[in-house]
C-alpha cells in the first residue's frame, strides 16, 4: 500500500515505552493511512493498550516520534537517569530534537478520539449528557458567557448536534436514560458516539468487541465501516476477536512482548507462522 506523507493519518516511529526495567512497547514503527481501518493485534500483555496510551498522551513514550497528519505531535528521547537504564534501541535518534509531550485533551483537540477497553462512560449522567459533554471542548464560549447564558446559540447548536448524532447512532430512544443502565453493546456504541462528538479525524478503538456476542460483533464490523465512511474517519483499532479483525481490517500489525512480529493484509497474517505461534504457543516438540 502507498505510504506517502500526505496520506498518512498517523505515523509512529521507533516508539519505545519503558516502565522501570520493563519494556512494554519496543521500537514500534507503524503507519495508519487515511480512511483505512488498521488493526493492532497481539496476545494479552503484548503492549497494545500501552501503544494507544502513548498516542493519546496518557503516557509519555520513553523514546520515539508520533506524527499525526504529517505533523509531529509526540516526541521524546531518553535522557539523564532514563538513558542509563534505557534498554530499547535508537536511543540517540531523536536526541537533538525538542521534546513534545501533550496532555490527552490536547491530543483530542488535534482530532484523535478514543474509546476504552473497559468502558469509561460518565456514570451519573444520561446518554444525552455523555455525548453533550464531549462537545464542550469545541464550543466557542468562556466561563462568563456560559454562566450568564451569553452562549445560548452555541449551547443550542451543541444540543442539536448531540441529538443529531444520537439519532444517527440509533441511541435517541435512550437519551434520558442513565448511561450505565444501557445494555453492554449499546454502552460500547455510546462510547463510540461520544468519541465522534469530539469531531475526530482519527478514531482509536480499544477492543471494541470485548464482551460482545457473535451477532453483536458482526454488527459492530458493519458499524465501524459505516462510521468510517460517514464521518470520513481513519480507524485504528486493537482487537482480540480474530473474526472481526480479519473481516474489517485493511492492514494488520501484530505485536508480541512489545515488539512487532508481523505486518500485512489479513490473508498474510492468517497464514503467518510467528503469529500463530504467538497466539497458540510454541509446541515443545519443535
Amino acid at each position: 500500500m502507498e505510504k506517502t506523507a500526505e496520506t498518512l493519518a498517523l505515523h509512529i516511529e521507533n516508539v519505545t515505552m519503558q516502565f522501570g526495567g520493563v519494556v512494554s512497547v519496543n521500537d514500534l514503527t507503524l503507519d495508519v493511512p487515511q480512511n483505512k481501518i488498521i488493526a493492532l493485534i497481539g496476545p494479552n500483555g503484548a503492549g497494545k493498550t500501552t501503544a494507544f496510551n502513548c498516542i493519546t498522551g496518557v503516557y509519555q513514550p520513553t523514546n520515539g516520534l508520533i506524527e499525526f497528519m504529517g505533523k509531529p505531535i509526540v516526541r521524546n528521547h531518553p535522557s539523564g537517569r532514563t538513558l542509563k537504564t534505557y534498554k530499547g534501541e535508537n536511543a540517540g535518534k531523536y536526541a537533538g530534537e525538542s521534546v513534545l509531550s501533550p496532555t490527552p485533551d490536547e491530543i483530542t483537540a488535534l482530532g484523535i478520539a478514543r474509546t476504552f477497553q473497559n468502558i469509561r462512560l460518565w456514570k451519573s449522567m444520561t446518554v444525552f449528557e455523555n455525548v453533550l459533554i464531549a462537545k464542550h471542548m469545541r464550543a466557542d464560549q468562556n466561563v462568563f458567557s456560559a454562566i450568564f447564558r451569553g452562549n445560548a446559540a452555541e449551547e443550542k447548536r451543541m444540543r442539536d448536534e448531540t441529538m443529531e448524532l444520537l439519532r444517527e447512532q440509533g441511541l435517541d430512544a435512550y437519551k434520558d436514560e442513565l448511561a450505565t443502565s444501557l445494555p453492554y453493546g449499546l454502552q460500547r456504541r455510546l462510547e463510540i458516539a461520544r468519541a465522534l462528538a469530539t469531531d475526530p479525524k482519527l478514531l482509536l478503538l480499544d477492543e471494541p468487541a470485548a464482551g460482545m456476542n457473535p451477532q453483536e460483533t458482526l454488527e459492530l464490523a458493519d458499524f465501524v465501516r459505516e462510521i468510517r465512511d460517514k464521518y470520513k474517519l481513519t480507524v485504528f483499532l486493537i482487537e482480540h476477536h480474530m473474526d472481526l479483525v480479519m473481516n474489517i481490517s485493511d492492514y494488520i500489525y501484530v505485536i508480541d512482548f512489545g515488539s512487532e512480529i508481523a505486518r500485512g493484509v489479513p490473508e498474510e497474517i492468517q497464514s503467518n507462522e510467528r503469529v500463530i505461534e504467538a497466539y497458540l504457543g510454541v509446541s515443545e516438540a519443535e
Binding site: 493519546t56 496518557v58 496532555t103 490527552p104 485533551d105 490536547e106 483530542t108 483537540a109 478520539a113 478514543r114 476504552f116 469509561r120 462512560l121 460518565w122 456514570k123 451519573s124 449522567m125 449528557e129 453533550l132 459533554i133 464531549a134 462537545k135 464542550h136 471542548m137 469545541r138 464550543a139 464560549q141 466561563v143 456560559a146 454562566i147 450568564f148 447564558r149 452562549n151 449551547e155 451543541m158 434520558d176 461520544r194 468519541a195 462528538a197 469530539t198
Partner: protein
Amino acid sequence: MKQSNKNVKIFFGILILLLFVILLENISAFIPGLPMVFDPMSPLFTVLKKAAVYSLVAVSMNLLNGFTGLFSLGQAGFMLLGAYTYAILTVPSNMKDQVYYLFGGCAFKFSFVDLFGMIFGSTGVGGAVSMILGCLLAMILAGCVAGFFAFLIGFPVLRLKSDYLAIATLGFAEILRAIFQWQRLGPVTNGANMIKGFPTFSSFNITAPSGAVILRLSTFVPFLITSICVLIIVLLINSSYGRAFKSIRDDEIAAEAMGIALFKHKMLSFVISSFFAGIGGALFAMYVANAQAKAFTSTMTYEILLIVVIGGIGSVSGSILATFLYVACSEWWLRFLDSELYIGSFKVPLLRNGFRMVVFSIVIMVIVLFFSQGIMGSREIDFSGLFKKKTPIKERKQDQ
C-alpha cells in the same frame, strides 16, 4: 423555551422568598401581640442570618467537593481572607485609629464607604448609597482576594488527588490563620485582635434620624447576597462548564480523553468556589460583627463539610436545606437540652449544659450511618410540579 421559562420561575421564586423575609422581619412592628418568635431579637433571626451565610459557603464547597470531585478542606481559609478583606476595606477612616490602637493606626487609611461618601455624601440617602456601594465593592474584592489566593495555591495543590489535596488545603487554611495573627502584620490585620466597627447586617436597617428603626433589612441583606451568589453557582453548574466539572468528578481519565483540559477546569472550579467562600467570609464577618482569625478554625470547615454531606454531595438545594436544619438545631431547637428542667419536683435526667452537643452528635451519626447519601442525594428539590399543569406524557417527551 423550557429552560428560560424555568429560569424565570426560579427568579420569581427568589423574589417571593426575599419579600417574605422582609415581611417576617418587620411583622412584629406592625402587628403587636405576636408570639415572641417574631420579635427581632428572637433566635429565629439569628438562625436565618447565620444559615443564609453558611448556605453560601456550603454551596460553594459543594461546587468543589460535590460537583468537581475535588476534596478540598480550605474553605475556612478562604472565608478568612474574605472576612479580613471586607473588614479592612470598610472600617470607617475615623474608626481606624481606635480599632488599630495597638499598632498606631491602619496601613490602609481609606475606607470604601468613606470614599463613596465623598461622592454621594455621608448622611441620609447619600450615606445609604455610599455604604451599600462601599460594602458591595468590598465584598466583591473579598471574593477576588480569596479567588486570587486559590489561583496561586492551585498550581501546586491541584496536582494532588483526593486525601492529599484535602491535607494540603487544610494546611493552607491553618497557615493563613497563623499568619493573620502574626503581630508583625498588625498594621494590616490588627494582629490577634479583632477588627470591628465596619458595617454589619444591622447597618442596613432603615432608621429615622432619631435612631428608631423604620424598616428592618438585617436578615434580608444576607438572604439577598446569598441568593444572587447561589443563583450564579446554579447557573454555572447547569452550564457547559458545570457539565464538564461533573464529568471530571465521574471519570477524570475519560474527561481528559474527551478533550476537557483537566487542570484548567479544576482551577476554574477551585477559584470560583473560593471566590464565593470569600464572599461568604465577608458575610460571616458582618454576621458576627467582627473579623478575627481565631474564628476560622478547621472546625468551621468540618462543620460546613458536615452540612454538605448531610444535604447530599452534589445537590445545591440539599446543601441549603441542610444548612438551615443544621443551624436551627445547633442554635435554637436543641437549646432546651442545655438547661436543667423540672417538671413539678421531678428533675428531668441528663439535661445539663453540653448535653445538646451529645444529642446533636448522635443525630449526625445516625444520618451518616443510615442516610449516607444525605437528605437529597444528588437530586434537587423541584418545585416545578407545583406550578405546572399536568401535561400529557407524549407532549412532555417532546418538550425535553
